[in-house]
């Protein structure tokens, strides 16, 4: 009898093993597989060039972009962001009091996992936390002021390698895993996920646009888009992606979006910040 019970337990444990392995959270293994996938699929693209999105995929587009970079369309946003950054709040403090190195060259450290709240904090959220802590009204996550300030902070961080930390905290690992899940989950009436475009089809056209690879996608944000005729924050990019596939977007900086940003940014660790970007 005991032998039968032991045999049954062994079979159950053996069957459960693959399930446990599938559900295990291993960001480092994901990172290696992600990196391998893109570098093997696009062997001619230098690793650091993935951060330039469609320009790393299409030579013609790349030349147009290089010409445009001589007078970049996000310049006005940089000026505005710099002015915002140096203008004190009503209480005399400023953004410099909220960020390491006074907010200069820190873009690569965001998103961060906040142990106190147990949540992922993006750069945009950190900016609004700073404002609220100093008695200021938070900025709209979808509008130009947030885009300008994050553009300036990204610009001061250009070339610095993305440096996202996932602490050995079950809540941080859960947030990372949720980000991965949201990235791969199909949504909207078109039944598409982030991965449908940026993993399965980078380099291919969707109408007139060349799809960017998921690797390094976050490094270029925020971006100026000719299609929008202006700057767009990370939130604008993510919510627009959802509505384009006929899905109702979640609120800007919803936990789901912050977790996606956490996952994607971790996948880009080591790749240089290239934001603010300019896209067709």
């Amino acid at each position: 009898m005991l032998r039968k019970v032991l045999l049954a337990l062994t079979i159950v444990a053996g069957a459960a093993q693959p399930l446990l392995a599938d559900n295990a959270v291993d960001p480092q293994a994901d990172f290696k597989a992600f990196r391998k996938y893109f570098t093997e699929r696009f062997p001619k693209v230098p690793l650091n060039q993935f951060v330039n999105g469609p320009y790393s995929m299409d030579e013609g587009l790349r030349k147009q972009w290089q010409a445009k970079e001589e007078f970049p369309p996000y310049d006005f946003a940089l000026d505005k962001g710099k002015e915002m950054s140096s203008t004190p709040f009503k209480n005399g403090k400023s953004y410099a009091d909220c960020f390491p190195n006074k907010g200069i060259g820190v873009r690569q450290m965001y998103p961060q996992f906040d142990e106190k709240s147990g949540e992922v904090i993006t750069l945009d959220v950190a900016i609004n936390q700073c404002r609220q802590a100093n008695g200021e009204v938070p900025l709209d996550y979808l509008k130009d002021d947030m885009a300008a300030l994050t553009a300036y902070m990204a610009f001061t961080s250009r070339g610095k390698p993305m440096d996202i930390k996932i602490p050995n905290d079950p809540r941080a690992l859960a947030a990372y895993k949720k980000g991965e899940e949201n990235f791969y989950t199909r949504r909207g009436q078109f039944n598409m996920s982030c991965a449908s475009c940026h993993v399965q089809n980078p380099g291919n056209h969707i109408r007139t646009e060349v799809l960017a690879p998921a690797l390094g996608l976050m490094n270029a944000l925020p971006i100026y888009r000719s299609e929008w005729g202006g700057m767009g924050t990370t939130s604008r990019r993510l919510t627009t992606c959802n509505s384009q596939i006929r899905g109702v977007p979640l609120p800007a900086e919803a936990e789901e979006y912050r977790d996606v940003e956490y996952f994607l940014s971790y996948m880009a660790n080591g790749l240089p910040i290239s934001g603010p970007g300019a896209r067709p």
Binding site: D30, N191, L250
Partner: protein, 104 residues
């Protein structure tokens, strides 16, 4: 004489009832259809997986009802319900399927 008056009254009453019922039936159908659509939309919302086309169909249903076009309103409401149910099915299916897309 008294009997005749009663018969006339009964006929008038039945005609009035028929006219009222004929008007009320489409409105009742619409109310039932919109209630089902809104219940499905509520479930999709709870799953954080609504489609933009669902809201458009619901809006079209309400506009048609306001214009007294109840047949159209019912059709739009049923479309909204079907779309909401589609998004619910998608969310439940994706809970199991998403790992298959992961780069390994």
């Amino acid at each position: 004489m008294h009997t005749r008056a009663l018969i006339r009254f009964a006929i008038a009453l039945s005609v009035a009832s028929f006219v009222t019922a004929a008007w009320a039936a489409p409105a009742d159908d619409y109310n039932a259809a919109i209630a089902k659509a809104e219940a499905a939309i509520k479930r999709a919302h709870a799953l954080k997986n609504e489609w933009t086309t669902t809201a458009a169909a619901l809006k079209a249903a309400k506009a048609a009802a306001d214009a007294g076009k109840f047949d159209d309103a019912v059709a739009h409401a049923q479309q909204a319900e079907a779309l909401a149910n589609g998004s619910i099915a998608q969310a439940k299916e994706q809970e199991k399927l998403w790992p298959e897309a992961v780069i390994r």
